[in-house]
Symmetry: C2
Subunit: 368 residues, 2 copies
């Protein structure tokens, strides 16, 4: 946050800052989505929708799972929310009583911890290793388990590492949580943004998990603030009540816009963008390796590289500061994602053009 | 909720239901707001804004307080949120640790209680009396106070009663909460919707309160899901961190739309609507009194009448059910707003035309 503020300050002073610290695609909202929003807003009839979202949007999401991800997810298990944040909020609110414990990956998305704590829950970190694709080992989860453990949260593709969970590990985590009457929550916010392999959802294999997703990343709709939560059937009533109480309804213009997100025109645009992201990843990955960074587990998705910087600098926070001040390249130090080997890592986002990535690599080379 | 579902079912079956149960104005989004949204969305650049909201929108809200409500509220105390729900969420998250206690009016907006409980807090109800304009007495607050009390929440104009808090009572509540190092939170979601007297904000008299507001009601922007929270200066850092963690940013299209909400063109439209609401209130108030309902404290704002139905029926829930089934007039029984004298009261919203209100009154007459 401090580095983000400094990056913005430098930019305000006229510096040409390359923003590899923010998790926002550079693309505008796709044209079909813009047009759908325009057509709806023109009517002026921007009233509340049902708390769980417009039935036709929930059906559209359900159809997307069936057609593109080989997953049967009935619309009544899908809750439309104000961004993935709204989905995570619902999940944490539903599963957490004061004193309950969540197991979270370290490194991981930093806000997750805050959600759990805001609801009076406790967080136990699972230090995840590069050789395990930065996903928790089953034995780790078993060892960390306590009588208070209520949920395990994983992310695939993961932020900050871009790594995926494999089927075997996933099945194991589902078995452990089910057996102990706890819940597995899977952050699939970057679902669809995978390179060199087909997109997947854990919902193709399992019904008894909660899945957080978003229109922000793959669908390129960040500022619209729309996401969704998939819940097991037995939780739908409880979640509906919470949604009605905690946020009335998600944004109506965003929901109408999102209906166009699943059109074939739009999906073609998203596929083009995905391919561009893949090229950018390859460029940044090779470039960083050429500069002496080590990528200990290949990032297969999202738009981040979690680079081991120990051969370049002894402290990644210090390195991040140096890159910003001397090269005007903004990055995120590992410290923002946890404690485990945090000082040796840096997250870089490839949410800019290949030319811009090359420019960033040149600047980093000079700074090192 | 059960009655709401039944009302929707009847409507789906082709019945002409008059919806006096929902708190949503019948007006569309005002034209200047629609135009501003259209112009912005066309650019496609719908990216994240800062977590606290766009600086120019926070300035515009600050200017609105200065020009129309005689209140000095600097923009850095204003946090733009996903509806008033987002504002309430932030306030409760900021002020509540597990076991903390909130004092809430009974009758009151039912979700407030859920927010506090979701964050591990406890709720103590203050049964508020008609002769006190359904606002808590100072002695009530003092008697209910415990070592765990962290906040008192009032609403002015109140939902479900439409009543306002007077200056003297307000000053007393501020003094009590300040002295005991707790917070007074004021729900001003219906601010601007007052009839027969000028609109006011508690912020004209006090800086050390939290105020929840919304673009939904007075500004007629329900489906856009945009609100704001005003916080005392000493809480701004804490609230900013929470906002960054809990929801990233409010809707970007909604924020651009809301910038046009303060234009003189738009305020002229809102003033016309306010006058219409005033006429509707007068009509419904007189009509209900003519039917034998008692209005024990005159509603001065919002768009609700909290009618004492004890001369019409012994149980307002039963009456509400009867009115729906036999007259197709949907109302909300007092039970939805608390326990205190709930069985003797019914809330009716006047969010429809005068002709429609007359029709509703005719139907209720027949049912009684």
């Amino acid at each position: 946050m401090e580095l983000l503020a400094r990056a913005q300050q430098l930019q305000a002073e006229g510096c040409d800052v390359i923003h590899m610290e923010v998790g926002e695609p550079d693309f505008p909202t796709p044209e079909p989505v813009v047009e759908a929003a325009q057509a709806f807003i023109k009517t002026g009839r921007v009233h509340y929708t049902p708390a769980l979202g417009m039935p036709e949007l929930r059906e559209a999401i359900s159809a997307f799972y069936a057609e593109h991800l080989d997953a049967k997810v009935s619309a009544d298990r899908i809750v439309v929310t104000a961004g993935a944040s709204g989905a995570l909020l619902l999940a944490v609110a539903a599963l957490t009583d004061p004193g309950n414990e969540w197991l979270l990956s370290d490194p991981g998305y930093p806000c997750n911890r805050q959600f759990v704590q805001a609801f009076g829950g406790r967080v136990k970190s699972l230090p995840v290793k590069a050789q395990a694709a930065y996903q928790p080992d089953l034995s780790q989860v078993e060892d960390a388990w306590s009588a208070d453990t209520k949920a395990v949260l994983i992310a695939s593709p993961s932020n900050p590492t871009g790594t995926l969970i494999d089927d075997e590990r996933l099945d194991g985590l589902v078995a452990i949580t089910r057996q102990r009457r706890a819940c597995l929550v899977v952050d699939e916010i970057y679902q669809g943004l995978v390179y060199g392999r087909p997109a997947k959802s854990v919902l193709a294999r399992h019904d008894e998990v909660l899945v957080v997703n978003s229109f922000s990343k793959y669908f390129g709709m960040t500022g619209w603030r729309l996401g969704w939560l998939v819940v097991p059937t037995m939780l739908t009533r409880h979640i509906e009540k919470l949604a009605q109480h905690l946020y009335i309804a998600p944004s109506t213009p965003a929901q109408h816009a999102a209906l166009a997100a699943f059109s074939s025109d739009n999906l073609a645009i998203l596929e083009q963008r995905r391919q561009l992201f893949g090229l950018r990843r390859d460029k940044l990955l090779a470039g960083l390796q050429g500069l002496g960074f080590r990528i200990d587990s290949k990032p297969e998705g999202a738009f981040y590289i979690y680079a081991n910087s120990e051969h370049c600098a002894s402290d990644s926070t210090e390195l991040s500061r140096r890159l910003l001040e001397h090269s005007h390249v903004a990055t995120t130090p590992g410290r923002d994602f946890g404690e485990y080997l945090a000082q040796q890592h840096l997250r870089l986002a490839y949410t800019m053009s290949e030319a811009r990535i090359e420019e960033a690599l040149d600047r980093i080379r000079l700074a090192l």
